[in-house]
């Protein structure tokens, strides 16, 4: 099974719909320990991406268009990190019409690494990084769309659960120290929402 530019166009459309629907929920979650803009960030970013013209023959350049969309319309941490992750995927897929599903895990890992470099963050600090890290591991060597979907869902839920009782160590939420204990990291939650949207 492969992933090509048309898949990416479809995925973008779904992500735009899912994040538009979840906008208020995500804003509210981000507002508990931050500035309450995460819903806007995602909805605006994916809407912009959805309205952009994606190339059909170069998956790398297609990822780059998505990255640029986030660079244009969002300056909040998550938008910039997503743009960074998408750029890493762009680099990895550059010049290819499609990739194998087995390569998805590698793209996730590449995104994770680029985002760690960009945000000077580490694993274990209760952020989107931990979700990506777990996802990369959970999807390693899987070749079927359904398999990947199932593994990803389980992995995200487990990661959320595993970090819930830990304090935030990155971003705005870090300032709140122990007040963040018991609350899901909004950036992790956003991945769950995007994943659900992709599979809807």
């Amino acid at each position: 099974m492969t992933l090509d530019c048309h898949d990416l166009v479809r995925a973008t459309r779904r992500l735009a719909a899912a994040t538009a629907a979840a906008k208020d929920t995500l804003n509210a979650q981000d507002g508990k320990l931050g500035d309450g803009d995460l819903g806007i960030t995602l909805a605006n970013g994916w809407a912009e991406a959805d309205s952009a013209e994606l190339p059909t023959d170069d998956l790398g350049r297609a990822f780059m268009v998505l990255s640029k969309a986030f660079q244009r319309v969002s300056a909040s941490s998550y938008g910039t990190l997503l743009a960074t992750g998408l750029m890493a995927a762009a680099r990895a897929a550059k010049g290819r019409e499609s990739i194998e599903m087995t390569e998805i895990s590698g793209l996730l890992a590449a995104a994770r690494d680029a985002m760690m470099a960009r945000g000077r963050g580490e694993l274990g600090q209760k952020s989107v990084l931990d979700v990506l890290d777990a996802l990369a591991a959970a999807t390693a060597d899987l070749a079927e769309r359904e398999e990947i979907a199932r593994a990803a869902r389980i992995s995200v839920d487990r990661t959320l659960e595993g970090f819930r009782q830990r304090p935030a160590g990155l971003g705005r939420a870090r300032m709140y120290g122990d007040a963040s204990i018991g609350l899901d990291d909004p950036g992790m939650l956003a991945v769950k929402i995007m994943l659900d949207g992709l599979m809807a």
């Binding site: 500035d35 309450g36 803009d37 640029k68 660079q71 244009r72 319309v73 969002s74 300056a75 909040s76 941490s77 938008g79 910039t80 990190l81 743009a83 960074t84 960009r118 945000g119 000077r120 971003g171 705005r172 300032m175 709140y176």
Partner: protein
């Protein structure tokens, strides 16, 4: 929300419209949300750019001017500009001699400026460097000084590096001077009342009628302790103690000191604080050069003050005392 504004979503753009309409000789808007000196980049001069959230005037846009910054990227209130805007900002400031990115150490700003730097390096062959201000001593312990956030020290860095660039120093020299200024600045703040971000519509934090928060950040980030309001001299002493513990100054050392209002605190109160701070430094035999008292780095209508110490050597002092000119700060040559 007791603010004079129209639609909160237009706050920043209408503010910029007014700023440029009022001072067309000082500021231009070559791209949306990018404020630059009119007339474009000067051939052969190092460009200095900055940027960050709105709501801090004169920081950032206000400090575009002669002997100061060349261009800034303007974000929403208390929010980073986008990487795209920052890249435009660097292109505008580039006069062929490279660009210094000089701004405060806030996560979002850093990520976006880094991304912008990579973009203009790749797409426009612009050589660039970064100096981050991390002068707020409360925001991390000395061992993690690089994690500290930037505040009043930015103003010293803009002024000193700006004078160096105006004297046609090269990118390495301007960057070195900016870094030395950043290394020599220490700041601390205290807040009495919050401000309101227009699009949020509610105060950034809650605080009791007779409480103050020592060490609070420019956006309401928590400080060291919250206590009942103390007399001005006690507040100033505590702030000076923390600053001098972090960067001891000895007899004969020279420094500038900024007593800065977060917005609502009037100059009358700043002078009362300065009076005490100067007594302290005088007592230690530290020589004050060009103190800055006023509104240099604000948080809209927040009540409170910050104190910044900037330790000076001959070169930094000379650059600090050079002339500068923007709508918020006109200084004659004091060298």
């Amino acid at each position: 929300m007791k603010k004079i504004l129209n639609d909160p979503t237009d706050f920043v753009d209408e503010m910029l419209d007014g700023l440029i309409a009022a001072h067309p000789d000082a500021y231009s808007l070559p791209h949306p949300r990018v404020v630059a000196r009119p007339g474009g980049a000067k051939e052969g001069k190092v460009g200095i750019v900055s940027g960050g959230g709105s709501g801090h005037l004169p920081v950032f846009a206000g400090y575009v001017g002669h002997g100061l910054l060349d261009a800034v990227a303007v974000g929403d209130v208390f929010a980073s500009p986008s990487a795209d805007q920052m890249a435009d900002c660097m292109r505008v400031a580039h006069g062929g001699a490279g660009v210094l990115r000089l701004y405060g150490n806030y996560g979002g700003d850093v990520m976006n400026f880094d991304m912008a730097g990579e973009t203009v390096e790749f797409e426009d062959d612009i050589e660039s460097t970064t100096v981050l201000l991390a002068d707020d001593v409360v925001s991390a312990p000395p061992e993690e000084a690089a994690k500290r956030r930037g505040t009043g020290g930015m103003v010293y860095a803009f002024k000193i590096a700006g004078a160096c660039a105006e004297a046609m120093g090269d990118l390495a020299h301007v960057t070195g001077i900016a870094q030395r200024t950043a290394d020599n600045c220490r700041s601390i703040g205290m807040a009495l009342t919050p401000c309101t971000v227009p699009q949020a519509g509610k105060p950034t934090f809650m605080i009791g009628e007779d409480e103050m928060e020592m060490g609070m950040g420019l956006h309401g980030e928590p400080g060291i302790w919250r206590d009942t309001l103390k007399p001005a001299d006690a507040i100033t002493d505590e702030m000076m103690d923390r600053l001098l513990a972090d960067m001891p100054l000895k007899h004969g050392d020279r420094c500038s000191i900024m007593v800065n209002s977060l917005g609502a605190t009037p100059p009358e109160e700043l002078y009362i604080m300065y009076r005490r701070a100067k007594d302290r430094l005088d007592g230690d035999g530290v020589v004050i050069s060009m103190p800055l008292i006023g509104r240099y780095a604000t948080s809209m209508e927040m009540t409170g003050a910050t104190i910044t110490l900037c330790k000076l050597d001959d070169e930094l002092e000379n650059l600090l005392r050079k002339p500068c000119h923007c709508a918020f700060w006109v200084q004659h040559d004091l060298t």
